[in-house]
Symmetry: C2
Amino acid sequence: MVTDQRDAGRRLVFSAIRKAGRIARVDLARITNISAATVTSITAELIREGLIEETGPNTEGDLRRGRPRVDLKVRGPARYVAGMKLAYDTLTVAVLDFEGELVSESHMRLSRVRHSAEELGPLFALALDQAAEQGGLKRSDLAGVGLGVSGTVDANNGVVYWSPGLKERNVPLRDMLQSHLGVPVFVDNDANLVAMAEMFFGQGRGVSDFIVLTIESGVGMGIVINGELYRGARGCGAEFGHTKVQLDGALCRCGQRGCLEAYVADYALLREAATTTDFNDQATAQEKLQSLVEAARGGDQTAQMIFERAGRMFAMGLANIVNIFDPQLIILSGERMQFDYLYADEVLDSIRKSIVQIDADPPEVRIHKWGDLMWAMGAAAYAIDGVAEIAMQQIAGHAA
Amino acid sequence: MVTDQRDAGRRLVFSAIRKAGRIARVDLARITNISAATVTSITAELIREGLIEETGPNTEGDLRRGRPRVDLKVRGPARYVAGMKLAYDTLTVAVLDFEGELVSESHMRLSRVRHSAEELGPLFALALDQAAEQGGLKRSDLAGVGLGVSGTVDANNGVVYWSPGLKERNVPLRDMLQSHLGVPVFVDNDANLVAMAEMFFGQGRGVSDFIVLTIESGVGMGIVINGELYRGARGCGAEFGHTKVQLDGALCRCGQRGCLEAYVADYALLREAATTTDFNDQATAQEKLQSLVEAARGGDQTAQMIFERAGRMFAMGLANIVNIFDPQLIILSGERMQFDYLYADEVLDSIRKSIVQIDADPPEVRIHKWGDLMWAMGAAAYAIDGVAEIAMQQIAGHAA
């Protein structure tokens, strides 16, 4: 039992150092509510294991406090991880060190949009080898790999129940990839990992409760409550795209009717547009969507009507999230945020009108355009979490 | 800083005792991750202050463990609190001791449905005096009063932004009542307090993540995540009744369109029914609703159609909650759950069909019929929380 306490204390201290970036021992004791003596002994152990290191005295702190001060921080080269984002037709890899610094990145164009699970192992191995090599590393130097997949994912068990990028359902993807790659693998829904990226590297730093929404080929959501990703009891909560906005409404890719995605996702917009537009059959979805945006901007009333309804449905769905969560901050995140119909002033205004009216400011809505690299960095942050836990288990093993 | 640590440790230990009911010191040390020596010193202090007491050895435990065992528990008479539920036209009061045991209850019929905030003080004073007297107590023996109000409530600041039972908006109800009653007052949304009642006394005991839905004259929701009530950043999350289920839909009492309440609450059903039915003008809303239920059961197609749509809208709203939270358990709680149209097999089936389909069981849905007394007990549980915090502050004051 004393060993359990020591292990729990070590986890607390290491996690506090990771969250703080740089922190003095005295502040660690305060934050973790662990005695100064125990903090000193735990941090000595973590330094011995090479997981953290002292940093030179912080000059500003010296002057202010009038005494030398030594901070602790995670030791970057202690571990390397990779994060991968399987987007529509692109595979992006980010290699990070244990401190979260970007070591290298790579982008691979895929020849198709849907893959069987069997095909992913060799594909991912190639992409990882490339990215590791660019960082002067080998794949075997990676302590863990995080992967973000769109769709319904049970992160605890690494099972992908359904993904638009996968041919099969109910795939134990984590275990399959782990045995193919020879590295611990951590799989989660990609929108959850965007939320993780916002929490560690983006607009969510220092915000305890926020919601990230992404609109790309689908609609994703990640929820952070008390500084932690909320995953729900079965590990697959936050399914914003498949909340219903219309009883018996438009048909969705998931097979149900009235999902928000069936009104605002790329495929939904193009499905409507095809009714009155003769698209070039050779054009990609991305190109068709671009021409639809241009038509709307050029004054085409049908194109405008399509975006207008999508915007109103999006506002309604988003207002529902606000009514339920009452978050501090909503981040609209992702690359396609370039299509400004979904965050036009009218849409944001319509969100404000649809939330419960109280005598207080509505939550802040921030638009954050960033590309696949940041999705991959979110996946890498998830891998760092997993690798940190493995490191804690190793030390507990040494100590026992 | 050492004092801060001691105060934090005391809070942790007392909270762990409250949650456990009965618990041995050795288990307290394990759960709180505080050393056995400190637990012994803190519990001695709490015994001295009269907040907890030792209970006789647990015989079953003795036999199993082969050694005498002394548990600690909260001392019931240490404090008394009252909880109040302001329902449609009834005011219910429950007096509890510090252990959560019911001491007395009272029910008062109100002559009207909406009150100005000024009128509530004298009304509540009367009801509290009655309930206290029935328990052999005086109002001044109460250490705190919890109050559940329907509508949009900022629990942190005790402000009622809007309630169907109040004539004014943005009422600082907590402070107003506190100065009138001379007792610390704690105000929250009533559905949150039903969730608290389920957590402490009902179906939510031992469940870390669950959602409570109530349908009475309005639609309420309480969310429990990690064993804590989730209130949102502004203290007024979980507004299920005003999530939108139809763009530009039916008009709601809140002044917006398409709210779930505008399809399933009592007033919404009666509004529809009035189109084709000549109700007796003298009948209460409750009586009219009863006759509508009977008409539907008797084969009246319009009445059936009204309930059928309400049921489908309710299923859609509830499925959205499941998609977003993915909870372990959903409790449909409240007295009006007698109107079985909202949890008919067809409705539950329609919920199952509308949630994201994964290869795992959907969350359990439990129907829990209980009356205003349990709402009042939830309010009392909230008051116990607040009074416990006051007690912790008092000890910290003594110790400093």
